[in-house]
Symmetry: none
C-alpha cells in the first residue's frame, strides 16, 4: 500500500443528522474519488438505501460498510483527532482554518492517529454541542453572497485537500524541453526562411526576430515541438525552392 | 466591486452536452458559492428546467441567465482563453495541469481577458474535437481506483481553486490575448498553407494540427502574436504562389 493510502485510511468522514439520502450517496462517491473509505453516519435517515445507492455511482461498498451510531460521542470514540466543519464564525468557533491549511496540519499526524471529519445536516450544520467535541475546525472559503455549500460539495473540497496533502506534489507533465542549442538552430533556420520569403526586413530583421523569440519562448518548446517547426520550415524552403526553379 | 469579483466575472463555466438536468442545477449552485455567474450550455437537455432549478437551491438567477449554443466553437468565440477539463492522460492531452496550478496561471490574465472552462458530459467527458479548441487543460487529481467525479463536484473543485486564486491578490498581467474566433481563423489559415506546401497529410491533417494547436496553445498567443503569424503565413502563400507561376 502507498504511503498516501495508509494516511487516507486513517480518516473517517462523519455525517451527523443528514436529512437527504441522496447526499449520503454523493458523499460516498466523493470519498471513493479521493481514496477515503470509512464513512460513519450519526442518526441517518432510515430510508436511505435506494436513493443513496443511486447517487453513489459505484461507491456502494463504502455505503455497505458505513457504520451507524445514535450519538456523535460514540461515533468518534476511537478517533484521536476530531475536526468539525462550519461556515459560521461565532465566538465558539475559534481556531478555524481553511481546508488547505487544516489538511496540511492534520496529514502528518495520520501515520499514527485516526482523524474524524464532521459534517452537520443540510440546514443547520453542526450544533454547538457537536462542535464542543471538536479539536479543530474547518471553514470552507466561499462567496459572501451565497456561502452555503451542498453537503457533498463541502465533503468534496475537504476530501480533495486531504487527498492532495496526503499525496506527493500534484501530477505535472514531465515534458522534456528542447536544449538551448537546438532552439537556437531553429531560430537561425526561421530567420533564413523568413528572409527568403520576404517576410523579414533584410537590413533589420532583429526586431521581428525578437518578437518571434518571445512568441515561441512563451510556449516552452519541447524537442518534439522543435522537430515539428523545423519540418515546417524545410517544407517552406522546398516549396519556395521548387518555385524558384533551383 | 472587489478585484476578486472583477476577475471572477471574466470566467465562464461551459457545460458541453450535459445529460442530467440535476447536474446543471448543482453546477449553478457551485458557481454561486464561488462568485461565478456566467454559465454557458452547449447542446443542453431540453427538459432541464424543473430538476435543475430544484438542485440550484437559490442559484436560479444563474440558470435563468445561462446562454445556450448549438456548437462549442460559437460558445467560446468571445473568450480569449479556453481551458478543458479531462481525467484522461492520453497522448493528445499534454500540457495538462492541476486545478491549482492552472488557476494560478489563469487568474492574472483575467484582468484583461475572458476565460472559458469546459466540462464534458457525464459519461465520456470532452471529445477530442472539443479538446482541440482548448489552449490549456486541467486534470483533477483523484484516486486511481475511482477517478470519475460527478460533474458538479468537478466544477466545484475547479471553481474553488479559481475563487482562492482570485482572492490571493494576484499580480495582474496586462497581456491581451487573442479572441477565440481570431485564433481559430489563424489555425484554418495555418492548415491551408501547410497543406499547400505539402507539410500536412492531405487526407489526415488532424493529428499534426492538434500538435500545432498544443504548441501554439502553450504560447497563449496575443492579438499581436496572431498578427505576426498570419503575416508569416501570407508571406509563405505569396512566395509559393509566385513560385508556382500563379
Amino acid at each position: 500500500m502507498s504511503l498516501r493510502q495508509s494516511l487516507l485510511d486513517n480518516i473517517s468522514i462523519v455525517l451527523v443528522d443528514t436529512k437527504t439520502p441522496a447526499n449520503i450517496g454523493a458523499v460516498a462517491r466523493c470519498m471513493m474519488n479521493t481514496g477515503l473509505s470509512r464513512l460513519i453516519l450519526v442518526e441517518p435517515p432510515t430510508d436511505r438505501n435506494h436513493e443513496a445507492l443511486r447517487l453513489a455511482a459505484g461507491a456502494g461498498a463504502i455505503l455497505a460498510a458505513a457504520e451507524t451510531y445514535d450519538s456523535l460521542e460514540k461515533a468518534v470514540a476511537d478517533h484521536h483527532l476530531v475536526i468539525g466543519t462550519s461556515r459560521h464564525k461565532g465566538k465558539q468557533r475559534k481556531n478555524m482554518r481553511s481546508p488547505r491549511v487544516q489538511a496540511e496540519l492534520v496529514v502528518p499526524l495520520l501515520s499514527h492517529n485516526k482523524a474524524a471529519v464532521l459534517f452537520g445536516n443540510e440546514v443547520n450544520g453542526l450544533t454547538n454541542q457537536d462542535l464542543a467535541l471538536c479539536h479543530a475546525l474547518i471553514a470552507i472559503p466561499s462567496a459572501d453572497a451565497f456561502p452555503s455549500l451542498n453537503l457533498s460539495h463541502a465533503v468534496m473540497i475537504v476530501a480533495y485537500e486531504l487527498f492532495l496533502a496526503a499525496g506527493a506534489a500534484p501530477s505535472v507533465s514531465q515534458t522534456a524541453l528542447a536544449a538551448g542549442a537546438d532552439t537556437e538552430q531553429f531560430y537561425r533556420h526561421l530567420q533564413q526562411t523568413l528572409q527568403a520569403i520576404g517576410f523579414l526586413d533584410k537590413e533589420h530583421p532583429e526586431r521581428m526576430m525578437l518578437s518571434l523569440r518571445q512568441l515561441f519562448g512563451k510556449a516552452r518548446l519541447s524537442s518534439r515541438d522543435i522537430g515539428i517547426l523545423q519540418g515546417i520550415l524545410s517544407a517552406v524552403d522546398r516549396a519556395r525552392g521548387s518555385g524558384n526553379g533551383r
